[in-house]
Symmetry: C2
Subunit: 233 residues, 2 copies
Amino acid sequence: MEPDKPPTLTERKRAAILRAAAESFRHEGFLATSTDRIAERAGVSKRTLYNHFPSKDALFDAVIEGYWARLQTLSQPPLPSPQGIEDRLVAFACERLQVLLDPEVLGIFRAVMTESMRAPELSRAWRRDSSYEQLLGIETILDEESAHGRLLIASRELAASQLWGLVFGGLFWSGVMHLHGQVSAAYREQVVREGVRTFLARYGTPAESVGEPASPNRRKAAASRQAAKGKRS
Amino acid sequence: MEPDKPPTLTERKRAAILRAAAESFRHEGFLATSTDRIAERAGVSKRTLYNHFPSKDALFDAVIEGYWARLQTLSQPPLPSPQGIEDRLVAFACERLQVLLDPEVLGIFRAVMTESMRAPELSRAWRRDSSYEQLLGIETILDEESAHGRLLIASRELAASQLWGLVFGGLFWSGVMHLHGQVSAAYREQVVREGVRTFLARYGTPAESVGEPASPNRRKAAASRQAAKGKRS
DNA sequence: CAAAAAGTAAACTGTACGGTGTAGTGTTTC
DNA sequence: GAAACACTACACCGTACAGTTTACTTTTTG
């Protein structure tokens, strides 16, 4: 909007507090972080911190809301589609995965999960409304491809959740659990591509067997038995 | 071995402490649990607690090791196979899933993850040695089925991780994040079965298209492009 | 430039926690 | 039944933390 008028001191202080708090919460967790430490990292007096946020809980809430809003932007643009379906799904998933595996985001997921057991009312945003499949825009892109006849899907929720598991599940879980350090982008893409191929082995339509070395007699009845509908108990 | 001679008082106290500690750690997390509270719940004096365990950290370690040992037993018996491959994989996965979704186990996963960020040296057991695919015995059962010609798999690690994502990923993640309450066994089985079907759409062999309504011309070149080998970066 | 608003430093309150010390009571074992 | 051992109750130490108070300085604004 306006060409960034210089931020007032109050705004700068507030931002510094939020940044420092996010950093601490991500690295140490909510309980292990002291407000003294946050104020120190933010270069701010403790009183100022408590002028901006009424309590440590409120500060945590504000940090979480900020990240949640950032993640929300993921659900919107499933990007246009010149490529074949495999490449499109791979590109889509790699983009999302890069965000999900960002150490900053992983840290927030950990913090949210941790506090969700101690104090469920904090961080309720992460549980209300939308599923992660929706959040990531998976259902949207599947709908699009289905509309173009490139996918044959009986239950979009089921398919979306399977795609999530195939391409995100393993790496995301490893990341959250610190199972290994950073993985290379190349490895990530390989995992994603193979996941997409498995997904297409069930849900792809013959029309899209593009550029493959040779395999004419594939699939066809692939979607012949897909019943799952009722969810939950 | 010996037909349980009555446990000595010391043994009973120790067990009570471990039980109370596990309960508290699962529900409140490590930091939010006080040793006073553990002692109280265990019906034990605080001094006794510190006679059995030198520190709160050591107590946490002992609790975690106990659960880890319990989970280890999962990796052994992939159970015999009278059924067709789909039913066998479904039965196998449902059994594992039941353990993974046990609130007690979920709570421990959460606690481990939380402490893994604050103090990685605790709970190292959960990261050393084996992958979760190994832990759950997925690779074993895939090897067996491959040996019988019922699967055509290029990379066992990749396939195992995909099966994990398809049948465990979604529900496990939901459970860990408290996304919904308990899900019914019937719903679980449905998700698992559909996951297995997607898996078989890529890795199954024609020989095993048993009892299907009608779909003779399936797959064959399914495994023609499976390259993934190099891991990590 | 003057008044209002916001920030700072530092001491302080009350509480909670991890861990120890002590003196005495119950339990096991020979 | 007595010596060795484990359990109990309880006071205690030092530290840490969320949040407040006070007295003072800087920034913003009209």
